[in-house]
Symmetry: C2
Subunit: 821 residues, 2 copies
């Protein structure tokens, strides 16, 4: 990978350079010599310390859900719908139950579970709720929908049992896309809904839109589409559930980003108190949003474990993941924009249609994608007038979940294509058009009512362009053109609302508001601390980054901090990890809890030192020092020893827990990370293949806790964005039959297709979080499709063809190039 230049927006010349920490592994770092804590960073935040996760993961000692083996454990699998849309006329499991090794087989009536109903719903006049049954009841609504559950002593018997099941259907016409969903004679996916439009909201229609178009020097009108995609975590979904008679609890180990939400849904489906369900999460091999919704399979497997009083395991296979897992991205935007003669945008008028598939998923409704796009479509630009209509359609395809970036990659493609189109119409450089429109004064409240906190929208654009120029890519483009090669440069500017707080959600009229998260921190007698968070690491290195935040605030070695997540028993509630909320919200709660623990340690120390609380402070080196006599000091182990073992020496009003708890909720509209991506591509006139020659990312996610981790997030996101731009697409035929059910047809890029990516960090510390961070999980994915698409169009600039949709197929490129020499 290319090296990582870092340009801190608030650079401190005395601060030592960042880089790998010299310690060899967690817990064995040399004594503190770094800078004192400055409110965001101390010795640890900003350093790429060795990951706490690495020792176990690199030595093969990670424990993933499929590594769990319990004595007496049974295996589960699903009889799945073979047609996309049909009434169920019969389910006969007699033969299944007779298969050697099959222990039980259940259909929906047998299990009698409650349906999953999304909670983040909108007012009734805007949204038609639909329920997702755990097993299909009267109808099946997509190929792969679970119809019956088979439980057997081994996975082979499960497959035989599935094979033996007899399901009969009365097949209906399938709804396979916008056209068939909106047709006047369209079959209804949900009988209880009046049509296939579950949400139809015109969120904004500000004054002046029509006037702006009438007065425009230039207008553009562009339809952009994105293909259906699969977030495709390396680890598929899975669950091991077992009833614990002692705790009177169903213990469910599952692959989820939202353990408490799984608990809530399980309790509701089983109609039991939440305390009778415990959800834990083992190590996870990715999620990307696919695992931030609650799957019906884990509910069914868990219910079977409770009924049978035996452990039950279900592991999704790749075919299931590709066809019946949660999908994403299939959206269509028609974007009209007006510009004045100076190249300033004067109005936007947008029509958004999102194909959400067969069901709303918990906790999000089918409305999430068009609502987010409607709210944030103006992106990083000053848009004075704005009209938008957003619709969520239901169809006979596997349901969708909010995949990394949610609808941002798509609305960013729409607005960035507008910028490119306008630049051509205006005869301006596309970067210059962006420069004239980008927000530069902060805080900025947009036409959408959203207030954007300070960012480096303009600076990142300038630096990205400077990188391209300094490296000579513009000359290279000209050289290539002269040689008849098709080389193009593309840009994408965007910001990303991360850290949605409850105010931001409440503003969306949501009735359930996942704003806060909680952290608890405890110190043991050795002075080591255990931090608990309601967020859920699934590859983001929370164990390391949260530890850095804590270590700086307490002034202890980062190796003394251990994070615990993924156990609903360990913390009362947590919304989990999605929407780049972990470091911003969870990490802020961790920071606040650490500060509270520090105050508690000081309070106890002052009492033991027989001085006033104001006369002591953390010494940054694992102790509390008396300010007017620094020879008087107590180490944390001294204090912890008293708190746990000699509690009679504590101040009378201090509980002997050495525990602090804090919750955090981002105020206002949340916070915004931003970035500019710049890409150089070359289109091969022989194959139509697009090769990426250079990829530069300039990003600002506020305070960078761990540069390597942020870079990893960024690079991984860009890889997924490139995948969506050039390769991956879930396709269906007109009957709703999926035609990309294996890696033969679903084209996942490998290291050969993904270029090196250089990443420069601008750092605008966030004023709305307790640690200055803004969230870094999704940015890469958001920026890549538009940047690649723009670069490809630049490479094709002489063909007269404009490509506005992803993925860009080689045959499309070939067709465009056909007329060229």
């Amino acid at each position: 990978m290319t090296s990582t230049p870092t340009v801190p927006a608030d650079a401190d010349p005395d601060r030592p350079e960042r880089g790998d920490h010299p310690g060899d592994h967690p817990g064995h770092h040399p004594p503190s010599t770094g800078p004192r804590f400055d409110g965001h960073r101390g010795r640890w935040v900003g350093a790429s310390v060795p990951r706490h996760e690495d020792p176990r993961l690199l030595t093969g000692r990670g424990r993933f859900v499929d590594d769990i083996a319990l004595s007496g454990m049974l295996h589960a699998g699903f009889v799945r719908a073979t047609v996309a849309h049909a009434r169920l006329t019969g389910i006969d499991l007699t033969a299944t139950r007779e298969v050697e090794g099959v222990v039980a087989a259940y259909d929906a009536a047998d299990l009698a579970l409650g349906d999953i109903v999304a909670i983040l719903d909108r007012p009734a006049e805007e949204f038609t709720p639909t329920a997702m049954p755990i097993l299909a009841k009267d109808k099946v609504r997509f190929v792969g929908e679970p119809v019956a559950l088979v439980v057997a002593r081994d996975p082979y018997a499960v497959e035989d049992g599935i094979e033996a099941a007899q399901v009969s259907y009365d097949v209906l016409d399938a709804v396979t896309g916008e056209e068939s969903a909106l047709a006047s004679d369209a079959p209804r996916v949900h009988d209880e809904a009046p049509d296939n439009v579950l949400l139809d909201v015109s969120m904004f229609d500000t004054p002046g839109v029509d006037e702006a178009f009438a007065d425009a020097a230039v207008t553009v009108d562009v339809v952009t589409r994105s293909g259906r995609q699969n977030a495709l975590p390396l680890e598929t979904r899975g669950v091991v559930a077992a009833w614990d008679a002692r705790d009177d609890q169903l213990h469910v180990a599952t692959t989820t980003q939202v353990p408490h939400q799984v608990r809530t849904v399980l309790a509701r489906c089983l109609d039991v108190p939440e305390r009778t369900v415990r959800v834990t999460v083992p190590d996870m091999g990715g999620g990307f949003g696919q695992k931030c919704v609650v799957g019906r399979e884990e509910i069914a497997a868990a219910a079977a474990a409770k009924r049978l009083d035996r452990p039950v395991k279900w592991i999704e296979d790749r075919r299931e993941a590709l066809t019946a897992g949660f999908l994403a991205r299939e959206q269509r935007y028609r974007t009209r924009a007006a510009f004045d003669a100076d190249g300033q945008i004067t109005a936007l008028d947008v029509d958004i249609v999102c194909d959400m598939g067969a069901y709303s998923c918990y906790p999000f409704t089918a409305g999430i994608e068009p609502l987010m796009a409607s709210a944030e479509m103006p992106s990083v630009y000053r848009v004075p007038a704005y009209r938008v209509r957003g619709r969520a359609l239901t169809s006979n395809k596997a349901p969708t979940a909010p995949y990394r970036g949610v609808s941002r990659p798509q609305y960013v493609v729409a607005i960035e294509r507008v910028m490119e189109r306008a630049a051509r119409e205006l005869g301006l450089d596309p970067v210059e058009v962006r420069r004239r429109n980008v927000i530069t004064q902060f805080p900025y409240t947009g036409v959408n009512g959203v207030t954007y906190d300070p960012g480096t929208y303009r600076e990142s654009l300038d630096l990205a362009e400077a990188t391209m120029r300094d490296e000579g890519w513009y000359e290279e483009r000209d050289r290539a053109a002269a040689q008849g090669r098709h080389l193009g440069i593309g840009y994408c500017c965007f910001s990303e609302r991360t850290g949605y707080g409850s105010e931001a959600f409440a503003k969306r009229r949501m009735t359930v508001v996942p704003g806060f998260d909680i952290s608890e921190i405890r110190m043991d007698t050795s002075g080591a601390v255990v931090v608990t968070s309601g967020t859920m690491n699934h590859g983001q290195s929370h164990e390391t980054t949260f530890a850095q935040i804590v270590a700086d605030r307490l002034g202890i070695d980062v190796g003394l901090v251990k994070l615990r997540q993924g156990d609903t028993e360990r913390i009362s509630y947590g919304w989990g990890t999605f929407a780049s909320r972990s470091v911003t919200i969870g990490g802020s709660a961790v920071a606040l809890a650490s500060e509270r623990l520090g105050e508690l340690l000081c309070r106890i120390a002052a009492h033991l030192l027989e001085t006033r609380p104001e006369n002591v402070a953390l010494d940054g080196d694992g102790g509390v020092v008396q300010l007017d006599d620094p020879t008087r000091r107590l180490s944390f182990t001294d204090i912890a020893d008293v708190a746990h073992l000699r509690a009679h020496l504590l101040p009378k009003d201090v509980d002997p827990t050495l525990t602090a708890t804090a919750s955090f909720d981002v105020p206002g509209d949340g916070t915004f990370s931003n970035a500019t991506h710049a890409v150089v591509v070359e289109a091969d006139p022989g194959t139509g293949q697009v090769r990426i020659l250079r990829y530069a990312c300039v990003e600002d996610c506020g305070v960078v806790v761990h540069p390597q981790v942020v870079d990893g997030q960024c690079r991984g996101g860009i890889a997924q964005g490139i995948a969506g731009a050039l390769f991956e697409e879930v396709t269906y035929d007109s009957h709703g039959e999926p035609s990309a059910a294996s890696f033969i047809d679903y084209l996942v890029p490998t290291a050969s297709e993904i270029p090196d990516v250089s990443i420069a960090h601008l750092e605008t510390p966030c004023a709305f979080t307790a640690n200055g961070a803004k969230g870094a999980g999704e940015g890469g994915t958001i920026g890549a499709p538009a940047a690649v698409l723009n670069a490809v169009n630049d490479a094709l600039r002489d063909t007269g063809v404009e490509l506005d949709s992803t993925p860009i197929h080689p045959w499309t490129v070939l067709a465009a190039l056909e007329g060229t020499p």
Copy 2:
């Protein structure tokens, strides 16, 4: 069992009679119709509700440590010393390691673990600390001492491996009791100690002792001895340990009453931070104090699991339990007492010698038994002058742990024998002598500096005697005598310090003070609560009784309350269960935490109802009501729904955790339960066997939370007391070889030997605990030996023989009766 009359000291005529609750099982109780909460009792406390533990235990679904089976689990066993006292001259494990199936074999040098050092130590001038190695190092000090650890793939290979080990000894003379320990040429058990007396403390020598003896109308001088006993929980000790790479923790499931203390010791022995050790406790089949100390076997097995990175299980077999488990009770008291002519005691002069065996155990030192006896020996009597010397001896026998009652059964035998002897000398009825000396004014501060809180010392004596008289046992005794039968009536009065708080411990000059305990309570969205406590149920029904305490304070159905214990991750620290501290201290913390949660619910409700906090209150039926408009009410589920899912509606300064935490510590000298036991026995002149004809207990443990449970505790304790009085004894030969290594020789009474016991409850609510309870775990065991011994002496009253020691052997009785007709 005999029915249970109940005589509440603070009886409320409107209160419905106690008894089994009409509900059929937890969670299915009828709606509240009982009395409102009065500060100690509401609808639940005082009712024998169905036990929450029963559904799983009665259906065989309890999970005990030996039920745990992990994949890849290995089994462990110990090569144990075959001689009582020897220098280790060689340990050769070569052949062991070659046994098929043996995975590893370790001696002390291989494992290189820290020793166990008791923490509750005394000042150096009074106490000689000795370390207990995990595996014997230079010496072995009792038969059965662990010398090496063998780990193998199954228990059979373990036994073969043990068999193959070669250990060579240089045998030393054994110290087997007081005489051999104190002899001038006695071999020293611990080379580092100057002699075999580890503690020699004269805790009291008040003015006037010698004068009182000089002026006495009557003096008595009695030597009482108690045999060595085994607490003998049905479930022996055991452990399953496994390294968890994700949590970076050694997870140790073990049979302990003190999980956090096991964590502390393990961390010290392994020299790692406590956070890297997690101790959990499965269901347990009894402990009785034997499991309130930390065993070396669980440390060794856990260390092996960490080294091997594989789960390791060790289950103690019965022979190990009888010979190498923790023992108890072997004590000798010489008690001199002076009485005036009125039968008032004027002075006590006591010499106490306790044979503690080979080692001090964590957390208690070898000093615990003589120190407790020295402090509390005056018992329930007004003693104006007091001199005491207490010694703890070390010997070549298995070490001792504080078995139910600790030294109370023994010092109560001593003082109660004094009362009986004095009565004969004074020509008074023994009950009358007690009546003249018993404390009746409270609070009473004794010659020992201890302040006794209000109890029913006199009332319980009166009621017990009245029971005997009303039932005609005195006439029966006369009738029997006339028939030449040997029937006797015996009494025992005692009180028991329970709920030791940190003040009481600190007064003992202990350097580590196990005073407090902590509770945390959380409410979920269903309104159900989970309560966590640092105490550890091992048969006492905490899950039920703690739930009752919570349910009354919150005004919810007891079935909505679930207790969690036995997981060091769930609560920061807890001292565990011993010294009848669970309901008194842990239960008080639970009560306070419940009250805090109630306040939190009220605060949120007031905010949501838009009224002042003073204008709302818990309604006793799962909700909060507005006082000035009772039509306005919020159920707990309404409130919990807001706290978890709509946190933006909470008051700004309320964290969305719906969690409350409280700690509790008993102030002052703690609290005292009390009781009188009355027993009728008949001695068989043919066999010397003593048969118990009637056993009546009148007890006062403060507020009775669950009558059936208290009765069960009481009856179980009495059974163990009778066992010590008549049957059980761990014996050794002069070489220290144990001669009661199986149930052939160690005589455990069965249902045939244990009589029905009637129990009457007097209830003096305790002012020092938050729930009025005083602790009920140990009383039965404390009272039985003296009551039985006194009854036997009464039966033998015509023989001129006085029996002062336990167990009372049939041949002793036979010898006494030989001279009678």
